[in-house]
């Protein structure tokens, strides 16, 4: 497992900038970067520049909890090239805002063991092979909560 990998190898690329707060010390865990509206409290991910609910322009950066719950999921048996199949894909809910859905791959679990309502935790992992560049695409994924977070690198 390479849950807390930070530096990318030459043949790797981040899926996108500004999605992840990387751990800076061994005690920290990675977090998703979200926006929270200063007026209405709406939480957006990825962080919006303006509020999608009210007229507020001030969106503060927050970090979502490391754990989330699986709201719905599917086992993908057929997709575009570059993804390992079967691929477990889920919509996640965070305690910060029940109206927010975050989509993610679920790793380190057998497809038949995935259930709605299951608690999962954020990891940094390979998402796909980019078929244009041949690079490994690295980003956020989730796995079943295993209690103590593995931090050895």
């Amino acid at each position: 497992m390479e849950q807390t990998r930070i530096k990318l190898e030459e043949n790797e690329m981040w899926v996108r900038e500004n999605l992840l707060k990387l751990p800076e010390t061994p005690d920290e865990s990675p977090r998703l970067i979200a926006g929270k509206c200063e007026s209405c409290g709406d939480v957006s991910f990825p962080q919006k520049e303006r509020c999608g609910v009210c007229s507020c322009k001030n969106i503060n950066q927050i970090y979502l909890s490391r754990t989330a719950k699986i709201y719905s999921y599917t086992i993908v048996h057929r997709s575009v090239p570059g993804y390992q199949l079967p691929n477990i894909v889920a919509m996640l809910k965070f305690k910060e805002d029940d109206s927010l859905l975050v989509i993610s791959q679920i790793k380190n679990i057998a497809p038949e063991d995935v259930k709605s309502g299951m608690e999962v935790e954020l990891i940094i992992d390979k998402l796909s092979d980019n078929f244009m560049t041949g690079k490994k695409v690295i980003g956020y994924a989730f796995q079943p909560t295993i209690g103590d977070i593995i931090r050895e690198r």
């Binding site: 709201y71 599917t74 993908v76 927010l100 980003g139």
Partner: protein, 393 residues
């Protein structure tokens, strides 16, 4: 605003125009075939058309102009709309507004798609799985989740919340593919059993292959105009009552994936604007790109209450002899889904149904119809573009 009527219609047979199943044709040739059929059906001269509105997703730039060049039409206001699988219904809304507001009196509206060759080259084999460049779609870039995966999660949310079953979803495929047998323009003209649907290859659990629309090429066209012009050409013009179009509202149903707020809002707006309600509908074409979406659509557009979509198909209420016939054309599952052409093709089915020209798949005494069309991905993982069209005779 002036009333606007449809009085010409034409489409190609839907299928794969890549030289294997059907003779090889370009998007421009498919568009030409549909447009000329619509012009001839209307009985107007091509030089009477004052505006052109085309919907397409994967065609060359200025597709409409290329198509109309074959038809001797040029030097008129001409627009190409891209709104995913709701491209040509969006084009129709633009055309309807143009005629209603007196900008032009007669317009041609069409949708074109010839993209199955793209599917062969990138290895993806189901609609909604094309591999566009990275952008703002986390579902695509982070999760590798395209149309079928998103709809599968909608289906699971519906099952978890309301107890809907995989059999109920599968029944949509059985019904629509049975309807497609009666449609000479449909891509698939073979009925399937519920067992065949459930036992077909798993694509995105619980969606099996026979619950996913195929890759399709094709084109569909219509002629619209003012009442005076339409009645000059036919005794039975079909009135466009209203068209509403929305981007999906932020966060959709606020974290509830078991329905689509975009379709709820767009259909409510449509009903309010024209004074027609779901109880008045005789025939409906829905965006059944995946079986699950049709069950959810029953609820979103008010054919039944929330959570009753599964029961609605179980009781045959969306079938002939039920409450309202849904997807008599075979829908996207049976007729096929050439993205840019789908929106117009749905409304052509309503046009033919309302005029009583549908032969063995004719819905008896059909007078009011609704088309439910969605495209792309927007806020809250809902369709980025939603169009609701209501027509009457």
């Amino acid at each position: 605003m002036r009333n606007v009527y449809i009085f010409g219609a034409g489409m190609t047979k839907f299928g794969l125009y890549n030289g294997i199943k059907l003779s090889e044709k370009s998007s421009h040739e498919l568009g030409k075939e549909a447009c000329l059929k619509a012009i001839d059906y209307a009985g107007i001269n091509h030089n009477e058309i004052e505006g052109a509105f085309c919907g397409t997703v994967a065609s060359q730039p200025t597709c409409a102009q290329m198509v109309l060049s074959f038809c001797g039409i040029s030097g008129i206001p001409t627009y190409n709309h891209e709104n995913g699988c709701a491209s040509s219904s969006s084009a129709l809304k633009h055309a309807w507004e143009s005629v209603a507001h007196g900008i032009c009196d007669t317009a041609i509206v069409f949708g074109v798609e010839c993209w199955s060759h793209l599917m062969k080259t990138n290895g993806a084999a189901l609609a909604g799985m094309a591999s566009p460049p990275p952008g703002n779609n986390l579902n695509q870039d982070v999760a590798g989740a395209f149309g079928p995966a998103l709809l599968a999660m909608v289906g699971r949310a519906h099952m978890d919340k309301y107890g809907t079953t995989v059999e109920q979803f599968a029944k949509v495929s059985v019904k629509n593919k049975r309807n497609a047998v009666m449609n000479p323009n449909a891509q698939f003209r073979k009925s399937v059993t519920i067992e065949e649907v459930l036992n077909s290859k798993m694509i995105c659990d619980p969606l099996t292959k026979l619950q996913c629309c195929p890759n399709t090429d094709g084109a569909a066209a219509m002629i619209i105009g003012t009442g005076d012009i339409a009645r000059k050409h036919t005794a039975k013009p079909v009135k466009i009552e209203v068209i509403t179009q929305l981007s999906s509202p932020y966060k959709g149903l606020a974290g509830d994936l078991s329905g689509f707020k975009c379709f709820v809002d767009a259909s409510k707006q449509a009903y309010n604007l024209c004074g027609i309600g779901p109880e008045d509908l005789d025939v409906v074409e829905v965006h059944d790109d995946f079986s699950i979406l049709e069950v959810v659509a029953y609820e979103d557009i008010g054919l039944c209450n929330r959570g009753e979509g599964g029961e609605f198909i179980d009781k045959g209420l969306s079938d002939y002899g039920g409450k309202v016939v849904v997807s008599p054309s075979g829908g996207l599952l049976g007729k096929g889904h050439p993205m840019g052409a789908t929106g117009v093709a749905q409304i052509l089915e309503l046009f033919w149904q309302l005029r009583g020209e549908c032969g063995e798949r004719q819905v008896k005494d059909a007078r009011v119809g609704l088309a439910h069309n969605g495209g792309g991905i927007g806020e809250g993982f809902e369709p980025g573009a939603t169009t609701i069209t209501i027509v009457s005779i």
